[in-house]
Amino acid sequence: MSRSRLLVISRHQTKLLLSNPGALVIFVIIPLLTMVIMKTTQKSALLAGGYRHVNGAEQAVPGFTAMFAFFWLVFVGRTFFAEHAWGTWDRLQTTASTAEVIVGKLLPSFVVITAQMVLLFVIGDLALGMNSKGSIATLAILAPALAICVLALTFALVSFCRTMNQLDASSNLLMLVFASLGGALALTTALPQWAQTIAPAIPTHWVMRATTDVILKGEGLGAVLASAAVLVAFAAGFTTLAMLRFRPTDQKQIG
């Protein structure tokens, strides 16, 4: 893999992302608004769950941050479909290797998703005042791990979906399932037993588990590292799936 070509494609992808700045702004504003709206509800849920000295932000901030991270499935996945719609996918293939094109396209999104999560945590904490028992800074490790996981899943969805409609539907479905069963909308302990059983098979669960451990239980770096490792393992699994199915010559359809 040529580093220079990788950087050229990444820079190019950044320009494409910036050519649609509205989405970037929305992906910060909407989660923040949701956190504000849901804070009180989350407080009740936390109190019911046996946690004291909470205001709801302790669940709302990490929950909606984790939930909206998976909004990127659609956004990033669409950039691959856009290449097909513009007729540029084949052109890129003639100038760079498939790996360079894919990694080059995902790299800027990795930075953006990581930054989004950090930003949401920081603003959420400052604006809503989380009462954290542990060090919130240790949670920063989760951001790149979750970003890798989201992008690997994006790659897998792009590999399996032939049309943009399929991508949209599957992305939205996964985002909602991950959020609800992963404990982003409500504490995992408040979910039905069957949901609690399958929750560990969902990446969001591990984000919420780490944030709960640090914020509500006061645990340290070890808990975060364990969850981050699981997220990276999810990413490896999604990437393997994607590579088994991905064909650079597959034509994608818009609609």
Partner: protein, 478 residues
């Protein structure tokens, strides 16, 4: 050969001379061996006058195995028929040609050795690998026996095509003939099932990425980034091709100038007109000045100005020495470009050569005489005559001579002669003859008709200017 030595019993690794003045001799390996007319050691082949003094070297690799490299010889070193652009790993059975001498590589298997073996250059389905092929030229594109199937459908059935530096090769064929599949295989977008594709000497099947650095392609479908500016679109492909800084900026300016896009440099590509987008699309392929340029129907949907600018650009690039593979349905463009023709049908090249060669080889000329009243019967030898009411159609190899002979035989019917036309062959008539199609009023889709230039070939147009006789489009030439 001055020093043919028996093979070393210890390894059995050797080069066997199978052709040339030293045929039958063996050159032992087991160390570096220099090959040349005045080389030192067992590789000295003094009897071969076409060898350079120090021609090539077979170098022993640290981990075992051997690599062949040319030492700047005058006429090149060939491995399995292909001139080697760089050092190449050798496998047993490989054939090396240096001058008049052909050497076969003999490397007995060694279980102790873990050497990465190079795949054979000539793949299954290619011409018989046992017969060493001598490339006719230093073609920028050398395709041989390229086959490609999609499921049960065999789209390419062994395509051979060479395009020399400075040559525009017009790739013609009906929809579905395999043009796009072929250029996709050359560009590495599709992997050929078998066959060999060399781009500027680099084997595109073995080293597709390296080969791609020697080519630029403008695919059939438009491929631009509509949300980015014209300059950014051009610069992206310049950068991907390795251009940087001032060189990149200069090249982008040059391409913009050549395609009249400079005033639009700051505009988003999506806001351009269709013709401007088509020019930008082509410009993105040439910004790096690749040795091989593949243009797949570059003027589809283009207006007259755009078409002319693209054609002018192609001619200029060819004049600079670029090899251009130009796929099109518009036959006059081939004539305008002075391109050679490769006619693809049914997954094979069925005709290849210059327009003049094809005209001479595949087409005949027609004289048509129109009379007042029924056409008379004429007895002429060596021609094919058809009468149809008042029309007499005579097919021959020389329309002018046939016309003169016909006129001399008319006798009293000459007073009823109302018109005489010479229908000379054009590229489109050859195309249709070879592909077994005919013009008809129900099929107005030929490029020339669409373009309204009357469908006359360069030859016919020139003849028209010089002769004063009427020329018109051929109708039934076969």
């Amino acid at each position: 050969m001055s020093a043919a030595v028996p093979p070393q019993a210890s390894t059995g690794e050797l080069l066997r001379v199978i052709a040339g003045p030293a045929a039958g001799a063996d050159i032992p390996l087991g160390r570096d061996v220099a090959i040349g007319r005045a080389a030192e050691g067992p590789g000295s082949l003094g009897g071969d006058e076409e060898l350079s003094r120090s021609h090539a070297r077979v170098a022993m690799l640290p981990g075992g195995g051997y690599a062949l490299e040319d030492l700047g010889s005058t006429n090149g070193t060939y491995l399995n028929g292909w001139r080697i652009p760089s050092s190449q790993l050798l496998s047993t059975g490989d054939r090396i040609q240096v001058g008049q001498t052909v050497l076969e590589v003999v490397l007995p298997p060694d279980p102790q050795r873990t050497v990465m073996r190079r795949r054979p250059v000539i793949l299954a389905g290619a011409p018989d690998a046992e017969e060493l092929r001598t490339p006719r030229s230093q073609a920028t594109l050398y395709a041989s026996g390229v086959r490609k199937s999609y499921g049960d459908l065999e789209v390419l059935k062994g395509v051979d095509l060479e395009v020399e530096p400075g040559e525009v090769a017009g790739l013609l064929g009906h929809n579905g003939a395999g043009k796009t599949t072929f250029v996709s295989c050359v560009a590495g977008l599709r992997r050929a099932d078998s066959g060999t594709v060399l781009v500027n000497g680099v084997d595109a099947t073995r080293e597709p990425l390296k080969a791609r650095r020697h080519l630029g392609i403008a695919p059939q479908d438009l491929g631009i980034y509509p949300t980015l500016t014209v300059r950014t679109n051009l610069a992206l492909f310049g950068e991907l091709g390795g251009l940087r800084g001032r060189e990149l900026a200069k090249r982008v300016e040059e391409v913009g100038e050549a395609l009249s896009l400079t005033p639009k440099f700051g505009a988003a590509a999506g806001t351009l007109s269709g013709g401007q987008q088509r020019r930008l699309h082509t410009g993105m392929a040439i910004v790096c000045k690749p040795p091989l340029l593949i243009l797949d129907e570059p003027t589809v949907g283009a207006d007259i100005r755009t078409r002319q600018e693209i054609l002018d650009l192609v001619k200029a690039l060819a004049a600079e020495g670029h090899a251009i593979c130009y796929s099109t349905h518009y036959l006059p463009e081939i004539e305008q470009l002075g391109a050679s023709v490769a006619l693809l049908q049914g997954g094979q090249i069925i005709a290849r050569g210059s327009i003049a060669e094809l005209v001479s080889k595949f087409s005949s000329q027609v004289v048509e005489l129109t009379f007042e009243g029924p056409a008379p019967e004429l007895a002429m030898r060596g021609v094919e005559i058809a009468r149809e009411d008042s029309l007499l159609r005579i097919k021959s190899t020389n329309a002018a001579e046939t016309a003169a002979a016909a006129l001399s035989q008319l006798g009293g019917h000459a007073t009823r002669l109302r018109n005489i036309e010479l229908v000379r062959p054009s590229l489109d008539s050859i195309y249709l003859t070879l592909t077994e199609q005919r013009y008809s009023s129900e099929e107005p889709g030929s490029g020339e008709e669409a373009r309204g230039d009357g469908g006359l070939s360069v030859i016919a147009r020139a003849a028209l200017q010089n002769s004063g006789v009427n020329f018109r489009r051929p109708e039934n030439l076969s």
